[in-house]
Amino acid sequence: MAAAAATMVSSAGGLLAMLNESHPQLKYHALSNLISFVDQFWPEISTSVPIIESLYEDEEFGQHQRQLAALLVSKVFYYLGELNDSLSYALGAGPLFDVSEDSDYVHTLLSKAIDEYVSLRSKAAESSDESAKVDPRLEAIVERMLDKCIVDGKYQQATGIAIECRRLDKLEEAITRSDNVLRTLAYCVNASISFVYHREYRQEVLRLIVKVYEKLPSPDYWSICQGLMFLFEAESVANILEKLLRSERNEDALLAFQIAFDLVENEHQAFLLNVRDNLSAPKYPPSESVQPGSSNPPTAQNENSTASEDVQMTNESSAVHDADPKEVMYAERLTKIKGILSGETSIQLTLQFLFSHNKSDLLILKTIKQSVEMRNSVCHSATIYANAIMHAGTTVDTFLRDNMDWLSRATNWAKFSVTAGLGVIHRGHLQQGRSLMAPYLPQGGAGGGSPYSEGGALYALGLIHVNHGEGIKQFLRDSLCGTNVEVIQHGACLGLGLAALGTADEEIYDDIKNVLYTDSAVAGEAAGISMGLLLVGTASEKASEMLAYAHETQHEKIIRGLALGIALTVYGMEEEADTLIEQMTRDQDPILRYGGMYALALAYAGTANNKAIRQLLHFAVSDVSDDARRTAVLALGFILYSQPQLTPRIVSLLSESYNPHVRYGAALAVGISCAGTGLREAITLLEPLTSDVVDFVRQGALIAMAMVMVQINEASDSRVGTFRRQLEKIILGKHEDTMSKMGAILASGILDAGGRNVTIRLLSKRKHDKVTAVVGLAVFSQFWYWYPLIYFVSLSFSPTALIGLNYDLKVPKFEFLSLAKPSLFEYPKPTTVPTTTSAVKLPTAVLSTSAKAKARAKKEAEQKANAEKSTGAESSSAAGNTRKGKLPSEKDGEAMQVDSPPEKKSEPEPSCEILTNPARVVLAQEKFIRFFRDSRYVPVKSARSGFVLLRDLLPNEPEVLSLTDSPTSTSSPAGGSAAAAGQQSSSSAMASDDESQPP
């Protein structure tokens, strides 16, 4: 073929000349040859494009020839970089444009075609008039592409394109025709949640997905329910749950429970209530047994209060022996699921977990207390806040009771905070919350206590019952109506807002409105926020009413409260909130613009919506008010929390701004969106800010850093240790200014939040936003103006635990594996060595706590050993080799946890550890969790944290329960000492006997 190689064509001139021939066959010949040489000779051909175009438009020319001409022109335009022209001619080429061809030309044009189609489709959908007709040829090409993807097995691409093109029919086809429908569906759900910005359309996609799920031969109810929850279709969820509950098989019931727990995790109170109300009642008249049962005090006394519902269940089933056994079973399950859906079960279990696993370090608080100057009230109350946050949800208030005298220095609003702090500590203590707070609550008309502590107590009640205020609402309303004191109104408003979060209760709204219209600054501010809390995410008409009043009033505080309240109402509304946002961000009043930033932040929370980000960045650099700018930057944190890795990049420039407010905002934005992630970039960005020249920037950076580092220990990032030492230095430093000192104190509180068993988490496991948590952080970020709002941060705490539950919703003894070095995720070591010179007092304290800890550890070890023996005996035959292989390392793990440091050095660290239900499993640890294959209990759904329903493979064997018993055994020393401590200072009203009891 040397000759052939030598005779390469040197020019397309001849062929181009042939195009001008009159005979059509010659033209055709020229065209078809030019097509094959276009890659080489397009510069020459480009001069003749007009001729070829005229051939394409020539009606007398054959259809095929015309398409050939179009294809040729398209290719030439492609080489010339005129993609629009190229595409329009490629469309003219019809079937000759081969989507499966593997060339740059085809790839480029296809992506162009799809882009074009997507933009046309979305434009058509948005303008909603049919005039924007899409070129059918373009549609045909995209459809051909989709079909090809499906045929080639590229289902993910197909679903992706279909979603973007808004072609639900094709989407359905792609899903149903894929080889692994479940995986494609999961991908689809993920894609629609994270990439579909248009809310309405996202709902359509989800609806379709749910439909497909339902059509599957074995429907995946769990996924269906998750999808339905995104759609807020409570009724369908209720139907599915009911079907599962009525099933004969216990597994189905377990699955229903699991679904319920996962729904609860998303914290959408209104939705959950709706589901609960939609579950139909059992068919026999249950009134006699159930109703007394649910509010029966004796049952609660029978067992630990946890089990009250279960106990009542057994009573009932024995009582109604004559009824249909199926209905009886359903009724029993129904009561359980109602307990779960109301959130009570999970709250109770969480409370027990936090109490039994509390590892807070009192020494840190003591150090803080001693280093803080007596006269400095800011640091004094900061210490109180830190204590509340550290013990959030653990019910351990030892510190408060140990330091009654010191506490008594708190006056006025500080007193308010002290009392409210109790609410944070006892968060979730639903049964006894009221009696705990009883000493401080306003006594009907008698007016004994200070209004500050009364107001604080009402606020505390709200914090205890946050998002589950069914029981306490009425009391709070009565308290609100029964007083004229601003401070009490303030507390009651906040409390009501928290308890009735998102319920949009008309009566409560009216009560609060009455308070607002008294035009008192203190009460009005709380009323504004409270209205927002009440109407979270309802996009209610009332927002305009609030806006009107904000324009009317003279008090800045009220305007600010209302601005935040209005922002809260549009939570998660995305585009639907645009009008209101526009109205607020254009307002004359900087405070309302500031509210507008919050509205943007909350309406688009967690969506990473580009439009919202752009708007915020614009305000961050252009608004004239420092407050608005600060908030605009801060709001970025809310929008980006679903993609935390983006935030440090986006705000990095802003964090170097000359304006300290912008720097502060950048710090908090990172803190909010990267909370609990320990993200490297986030820490790198915050580090320089913690030593900023401006005091409040330092404060913000310290708090943000603590939020990022929650539950990260020194082993996984050494900078955590550095940060802890930095905090200590600031707190102890004589010359530090108050602002950063306060920041450091709060930071050390957040860093060790909830007895170190909670993290800040704005997304549930299914990537659904947690309403309460987001709202909590949003109000928390208001502490700039009003310190008591710091307590809202407790709303965003979620326990990091794996709690396995059996059919009776009790916690059985159950072991599983964490395939990682224990030191990576263990609790930070308790501070033992006093660093200050005033160590004379400290040693006794150190000794007592460490001795207690040791005793507790020993007890735990014994218990574990026992448990191990029993489980070992149970499954000795089934254990096999795998179990034996693991045993030595497992023992090492035990030794690690219990033994003293010197031995630790001698032994190499094991690479895994055995955890016992319920266990602390921090976020980063989740991916290392494994279940034993030969275990007695098998999880219904492979989840790695949170509540996991377990299927019992040996239902007839007796079960060993761990959590319900554990408070009495393992924590008795701690509880006892607390009680003792309480007695020492029993003269004060602080101590109440209930507290020493396990919840």
């Binding site: 005779t7 001849g14 062929l15 042939m18 010659l26 040489f37």
Partner: protein
């Protein structure tokens, strides 16, 4: 459908060609061209079929005849078309085929055509592609010399070259060239003179009689005015008003800018 059939058809074409039956020729030629597309050895595919050389030779001859035919029927477009289709036979496969006698003749014709159409750039591009020996060929040389005279403005030499044309087919283009030259002269006169007497104009434009001149003016340059025994070009000049550069204004502006800049700094 094979080589034989095509050659037979071509024979018929040649017969008609000799008889100067151009209509039949055009008809046959078109059919021939269609037939040629079936040969896969021809450009642009150049497949190495067994009959490749024969096919190429035949095709080359057909296109050579086509070019000559187009000159005879005085169709410049067809000439260009056919020439471009012929060209690959010379450039791309020239090494594989025995050289054609007609090659230089046709190349020369093409050069002449470019000259006539006043496409001087393309003319030189073509010239660059020719070898030194080709330049020696009388047909090519003739065209090159013509171009030189044309550029120099030695129009009389251009016109006398008609007599020395190397081939009868050249005559057609030489006639056309005369017209090109005349147009050129007319364009220059327009610029150079306000008016010319009819007598001078006739000499200048190389017409033999006043009648011819007047006809030419009427057809090609209706904007000229023939009055009082002279041709006036004034009208044409007026139609393209000269734009004066507002120099004074510009200078003033620039100076004021400079002054203000000085003040700012």
């Amino acid at each position: 459908m094979d080589l034989k059939e095509v050659s037979q058809q071509f024979e018929r074409f040649k017969a008609a060609f000799v008889k100067n039956d151009f209509d039949t020729c055009a008809n046959l030629l078109s059919q021939l061209k269609v037939l040629l597309t079936k040969f896969r050895s021809l450009p642009p595919l150049f497949e190495n079929t067994p009959n490749a050389v024969n096919e190429l030779l035949l095709a080359r001859e057909i296109y050579e005849h086509a070019v000559v035919l187009s000159v005879k029927i005085e169709d410049q477009d067809a000439f260009e078309r056919d020439f471009f289709q012929l060209k690959p036979y010379y450039t791309d496969v020239g090494s594989r085929l025995p050289p054609s006698k007609q090659e230089y003749l046709i190349l020369g014709l093409n050069l002449l055509r470019l000259l006539v159409q006043n496409r001087i750039a393309e003319f030189h591009t073509e010239l660059e592609l020719l070898s030194a020996t080709a330049l020696e060929n009388p047909c090519i040389k003739h065209a090159v010399e013509l171009e030189q005279s044309f550029m120099e403005g030695a129009y009389n030499r251009v016109l006398t070259a008609r007599q020395t044309a190397p081939h009868e087919t050249y005559v057609y283009f030489m006639d056309l060239l005369a017209k090109t030259v005349r147009d050129e002269i007319a364009g220059c006169s327009e610029k150079a003179y306000d008016y010319l007497s009819i007598n001078d104009a006739r000499q200048m434009l190389l017409f033999s009689s006043d009648q011819e001149l007047l006809e030419y003016v009427k057809e090609e340059h209706p904007e000229w005015e023939v009055k009082n025994g002279s041709v006036i070009f004034q009208k044409a000049k007026e139609s393209t008003p000269c734009k004066e550069i507002p120099s004074l204004q510009l200078i003033n502006q620039t100076l004021s800018y400079a002054r203000e800049l000085e003040r700012i700094v």
